[in-house]
Amino acid sequence: MLQFPLHGLATGSIYAVLALSFALVYRSTGIFHVSHGAAYAAAAYAAYLARVELTLPWSAAVLSALLAAALVNLTCDWFVYRPLQAQGASSLVLTLASFGSYLVFSNIISVFAGTDPKILRDNMDATVEFADLVLTRTELLGLGLCIVSTTLILGTIRLTKFGLRLSAFAQDEELYSVLGKEPLRPRYQLLLMSSVLAALAGLLVGLDRGMTPQMGLGAVFTAGVSALLGGANLLGVVFVALGIGVLQHFATWAFSAEWQDAITFGLLLAVAALRPRALLPATGPTKGL
């Protein structure tokens, strides 16, 4: 009986890691960073290149995933977001530009790696049993990483002085720089934290379901929905993402797998139609970590 929600939680844990990483950027800079999806896909492909094509050890695969995600995110910020924000661009322009960067990076992957699905699998199909519950090793890894990374990120932000600085920056960048602090530092720290999480999510999905160059778009949309529904509290974002995973598993069981994304967005539209105030964008008083 618990088997279904457990598989759902395992899927949800990948969403949750990506949603948390999306929310770190979105709630602090206000950028609806769609090309974060490309960073996530790039991480999965970099790991595939290292592990399967070049048969390097796992540590090299993880490292290359981290580098790929950070490279995509930093390039976006250097060449797209920062110059546009310096020009005083509106959120419409930033969102358009992030879709543009998504097209660029995801299609660079398509050109070099081809569009056929690939999978990063290393005897991860083996199952683990507790009582009468069965999980694959990948699912267990996903759940573990989700718990560890959520605890680490939230712990850092809530309990340390470093985290206090990040929240101050996220809440009000202008005030932060008026106080004589360099606002680029927390910006890059957040972007790098977010890249690490995106790389982990990319690795997990590469192990679990495999990868395609365009997989980032759907994933980042799920992350965006979680960030908007979860709102001002990062823990809320994680719970919404886990909930979406469970809901999708029930939808697959009740209808078919094809309706998964429709379920995520049906949830968003239902909230938008019935209680639009429950959606918390990263503008005005609901901004910040």
Binding site: Q87, S91, S106, L217, A262, T264, L269
Partner: protein, 289 residues
């Protein structure tokens, strides 16, 4: 010659889509991602009417226009009150749900297998599928759609949309409702996209959900940004880019399987480059800032 006529039909379809999107993105400053839902619903409706009436093109055109408008009206009901990324995600949600229906309602849409073998489109019993005749009809419809938008352009409606885009607060101060105007602009977009759907169905004679993906919708978004948002001439320029650029890229010495990815990559680069250096697009009068 036949190739030139083919490009003319493509240009007719794209000009309806680009001009329709321009009404929402260029004039009211909201990034609509559901346009290919309107286009797709209308195309499937046109296909069903074509089959049911044994090839009446006019009946399929009228149905498609009404269905496109109706789909837009439904989309507006959930999204018109939202702003910025909330609007983006809500309209994306409408697209995802419409796409899931196209994929899963197999009795009506044929699901992934698609719909085909429509009777030959005819007007008053005279077949119109020969290429020169169909091109004339497609171009006439595109001009008709253009005239409709031009007429809408003359109304105070457009000034209201511009005012809304430039300063929403001042607009509300004048006693106008932003949601109503956004909703009307969506319906205008839906009607015109519906006409494009009818032309597409009769021209190609085959429909499947892969035509109506979010990536294709993003190409139309690029055309509006590059051509010039908020200007009639900008929409025409955007159409020219959308039709001609893939043809030019065909001359590149690369594997034809990669052309799609290279096209999307170039479109992504163009969005970013234009937003950074020329936010008003090639022929736009107002910059998206």
């Amino acid at each position: 010659m036949s190739y030139v006529l083919h490009l003319c039909v493509l240009a007719a379809i794209y000009s309806l889509l680009v001009q329709g999107l321009n009404t929402v993105l260029g004039f009211s400053g909201r990034l609509l991602l559901a346009q290919f839902a309107f286009f797709g619903v209308a195309a499937y409706g046109a296909a069903l009417v074509l089959t049911a009436t044994n090839g009446s093109f006019l009946a399929s055109l009228v149905t498609a226009v009404l269905l496109g408008g109706g789909a837009a009206w439904i989309c507006a009901a959930v999204s018109a009150r939202l702003v910025d990324e909330l609007f983006v995600l809500a309209t994306l949600g409408v697209h995802v749900i419409a796409h899931a229906v196209m994929n899963n309602w197999i009795d009506v849409t044929g699901g992934p297998y698609g719909l085909g073998a429509f009777p030959e489109p005819a007007i008053a019993g005279i077949g119109v599928s020969s290429r020169p005749v169909f091109t004339t009809i497609a171009v006439t419809i595109a001009i008709g759609g253009g005239l409709f938008l031009w007429a809408v352009d003359r109304l105070p409606f457009r000034r209201c949309l511009l005012a809304l885009r430039e300063d929403e607060l001042a607009f509300r101060m004048l006693g106008k409702s932003p949601a109503r105007f956004v909703s009307d602009s969506l319906v205008v977009c839906g009607l015109v996209s519906g006409a494009a759907g009818a032309v597409y169905t009769s021209y190609v004679g085959y429909l499947d959900p892969t035509v109506f993906t979010i990536n294709s919708a993003l190409l139309v978004v690029t055309a509006v940004v590059v051509g010039g948002g908020g200007a009639f001439a900008g929409g025409l320029m955007g159409t020219a880019v959308l039709v001609l650029l893939p043809e030019i890229l065909r001359l590149l010495p690369v594997d034809s399987g990669k052309l799609g990815a290279i096209r999307d990559l170039v479109f992504g680069l163009m969005i970013v480059a234009f937003l950074r250096t020329r936010p008003q697009g090639i022929l736009g009068r107002y910059s998206l800032e």
